[in-house]
């Protein structure tokens, strides 16, 4: 296997993604198989090839620096898990 369960734990933490302990082995196996599939890319020499980020090679468009959005705080916060006085609430970060 290309990855260990320790690797998967580390990746999951980087992604802030909870994985149940009893699922670790199956993720390790699946991810190792995925990596194995991906290493097939090495069959092709890509020396000197320019990477392609956008299928039409477009560049980022610019727009005039004008205010286009209106203030909709209440509207957007209506679907938030927890708000108070117009602010999003999360557990205390600074003691």
């Amino acid at each position: 296997m290309l990855l260990t369960t320790e690797d998967v734990k580390k990746i999951a933490y980087l992604a802030r993604l909870g994985i149940e302990n009893h699922d670790l082995d199956s993720y390790t196996k699946d991810l190792s198989n995925m990596l194995d599939l991906m290493t097939r890319m090495n069959e092709l020499d890509t020396e000197g090839v320019q990477a392609m980020a956008h299928p039409l090679d477009q560049v980022q468009r610019l727009r005039s620096d004008l205010i286009t959005e209106t203030e909709q705080r209440e509207h957007f916060q209506a679907i938030a898990p927890q708000v108070e006085d117009g602010l999003y609430l999360v557990p205390k970060v600074i003691e």
Binding site: A12, A15, L31, M41, L44, T46, P55, Y88, P91
Partner: protein
């Protein structure tokens, strides 16, 4: 009424044969009758009936488009103001979209009547519609088979007459593969042709919305409204939108059709190869010329795609953090615990696999080996298509290697599922337009039921003048 075309229905609405309210009720009743197919996540009955009343008034006033009063349905990946937009995930099960996607806005303005939101693989990741938080969708031709994915609900709703037409999205085949499995027409437009504003992002450099319908004509009517430049989408292309209906009945005399030998080799079911052979003979009789091509980089499309799509997915889905909207775990101990548990409890297995894979591919020390390498292969695949399409007008190929497989048949091994997308994925990497059209009905094994077979047509980005 459920098997009429948009043009026929528009005629019926104008002649007063039926009203949009009657038409809408007809489809709402069918949705209830065929609930076991699980095509819809949300049915917006009241909204639909109100929209139908408005449409009837518009038709009476002579202020109607072809789509005015026509029942349609939206894949649940498009944000719909005031309506749950789940993206097939527990993460967004409580998400009432605060705005409309551009596609939704445009179809509303055209007067189309939205019946509801369609089932899909969670965050559009899947090829069978088995990854939905709302359960698997069933293929109407054989309810023990998958409809394909990720736009499985869209394909089923169209095929079973639970809507006239539907929207879908396609990142690696998610419109074309379910269209093929369900025997309908599905078009993935050129990347950037249809606005991605309000379309929940999976892999931003590959995602594209498009129409799913029962005929090329219906797909053209729908695309006509969906397509066009949008200031709100930074990757939207500023190409003029042609009159798609006017392009439909061009003769095929002299059309050069390329067949990549790589797409007709090992792994393709004999029944699909035979159906496509029949289709090629039909094109020959219509005066087209068939030319064999070789595109050697195609075999690397799957690994390159899964690197790029996973990387972009891990980045896009980092926005679901349990803070501003969506699922939040109970009693978080601290902020990190809130992130980890909210995401861990609300994402399904396939989504987690791709987030993990993408996080790994983008992490320090691996970027060049995976993401950069994949982007370079993407260039080579795109060049391969450009060179092939300089010799022919269109490329044709199978859409899927096999008929629709059984529900549960491929869930144990994700790699097997990825290989399903063999013929569709390279097109997204190159950003090309491609569609799946019905090309036959055949059984892949003795004793199995005959199932729909699709044919893929791949074209260049801008139409070459007068082929």
């Amino acid at each position: 009424m459920y098997n009429k075309t948009i043009k026929e229905l528009a005629q019926g609405l104008r002649s007063g044969e039926y009203s949009s309210v009657e038409l809408t009720r007809h489809f709402l009743a069918r949705i209830k009758q065929y609930q076991h197919l699980n095509a819809y996540i949300t049915v917006t009955e009241e909204m639909a009936l109100r929209a139908a009343e408005v449409a009837d008034a518009r038709i009476a006033d002579g202020d109607a488009t072809l789509l005015t009063g026509i029942p349609i349905a939206q894949k649940d990946i498009f944000c719909t103001l005031g309506v749950k937009t789940s993206c097939g995930s527990k993460m967004l099960d409580n998400f009432i979209a605060p705005y409309n996607a551009t596609v939704v806005e445009k179809l509303d303005q055209a007067g189309a009547v939205m019946l509801g939101k369609l089932n899909m693989d969670e965050f559009a990741m899947g090829s069978s519609n088995e990854n939905s938080y709302y359960g698997a969708v069933k293929n109407p031709w054989n309810t023990t088979a998958v409809p394909g994915g990720s736009s499985g609900g869209s394909a089923v709703a169209v095929a079973a007459g639970l809507t006239v037409c539907a929207t879908g999205t396609d990142t690696g085949g998610s419109i074309r593969q379910p269209a093929a499995f369900c025997g309908i027409t599905g078009l993935k437009p050129t990347y950037g042709r249809v606005s991605r504003y309000g379309m929940i992002a999976y892999a931003s450099s590959l995602d594209q919305g498009g129409p799913m319908a029962r005929s090329a004509e219906d797909a053209a009517v729908l695309l006509q409204v969906m397509a066009g430049f949008d200031q709100k989408d930074s990757t939207s292309v500023e190409y003029p939108v042609p009159d798609y209906l006017a392009e439909l009945n061009k003769p095929l005399e002299g059309l050069k059709i390329g067949l990549p030998t790589e797409f007709f080799g090992d792994g393709l079911s004999a029944n699909i190869a035979a159906d496509l052979d029949n289709a090629m003979n039909a094109y020959r009789r219509l005066g087209a010329e068939i030319i064999e091509l070789s595109m050697p980089t195609l075999k690397l499309a799957i690994p390159a795609y899964y690197v790029i799509a996973s990387a972009e997915c891990s980045s896009n889905l980092s926005r679901f953090d349990g803070v501003r909207y969506g699922y939040r775990c109970a009693y978080p101990a601290d902020l990190t615990d809130l992130y980890i548990r909210s995401r861990g409890e609300a994402f399904g297995k396939e989504v987690k696999r791709r987030i993990l894979m993408g996080t790994y591919a983008l992490s320090a020390g691996y970027y060049d080996a995976y993401y950069l390498k994949a982007q370079k292969i993407r260039r080579l695949i795109s060049d391969d298509f450009k060179s092939a399409l300089s010799k022919v007008d269109v490329i044709m190929s199978p859409v899927t290697p096999t008929n629709a497989f059984g529900i549960g048949e491929k869930t144990a091994d994700p790699i097997q599922m990825y290989l399903e997308d063999l013929y569709t994925i390279a097109i997204n990497l190159a950003g090309l337009p491609a569609m799946s059209i019905p090309a036959g009905f055949s059984a892949d094994k003795n004793g199995s039921p005959a199932m729909p077979v699709g044919l893929q047509i791949i074209a260049i980005i801008l139409p070459k003048p007068g082929y």
